[in-house]
């Protein structure tokens, strides 16, 4: 009985540890992806600022158009 409880605790601990590792890995991946996106956005805005600004205006315009119907 005691042994089975100990086994269960070990198993739960291993699973929680695995889950934490998994979550940590995913956070790292997401963080790296966001960093890449940030770098790409900055580079694009630096390279062609007017296109980026025009795209932002167009995006905002479309969003406003869509949300004005709500």
């Amino acid at each position: 009985m005691e042994r089975s409880a100990s086994n269960w605790a070990d198993e739960a601990s291993a699973r929680v540890s695995g889950l934490a590792d998994d979550v940590n890995e995913r956070f790292k991946d997401a963080s790296a992806g966001l960093r890449d996106l940030d770098e790409q956005t900055r580079a694009f805005v630096k390279q062609s600022p007017f296109v980026a600004l025009a795209a932002a205006v167009a995006g905002g315009f479309l969003l406003g158009r869509l949300l004005s119907r709500l």
Binding site: F50, L53, L63
Partner: protein
Amino acid sequence: MANEHQNESVRAEGAGREQPFGREQPGREQPGREQQRDGGRRTSRPLRIQERGREAYRDAQHLASTLEQAVDEIGQFLREQAEQRPYTSLATAAGVGYVLGGGVPSRLTRFLFGLGSRLAIEMFLHEFIGDAARQPSAAPGSTASRSAS
């Protein structure tokens, strides 16, 4: 005879015509041409028109160069802002587009504005009241009274 009559009519027309600067001298003018003193020299009407045209052209060129300069400056400013604060610039541009798209009168915007203003007021009051609450404790009288009690 016919020529004389024509000259007479031209002269009469010239005398009756509106004279823009009061410089016309109908007695000295030649038939078919009006003359004017302009800065001490005589100029005929076609020359005056030509001069005005040149002035207008110069003014237009000046205006064009000024506009070009203004556009260049605005472009330079936008470029600098986009390079220094890319996300702020993009958000501002998106906000302008949102307003132009008519998103302001929507219920969602009203809700967000209401939420934002309430949060801002709350933060302001918190800070203000926090400062007001901190001030008496920092004052020497209050510390003295606290130590006495």
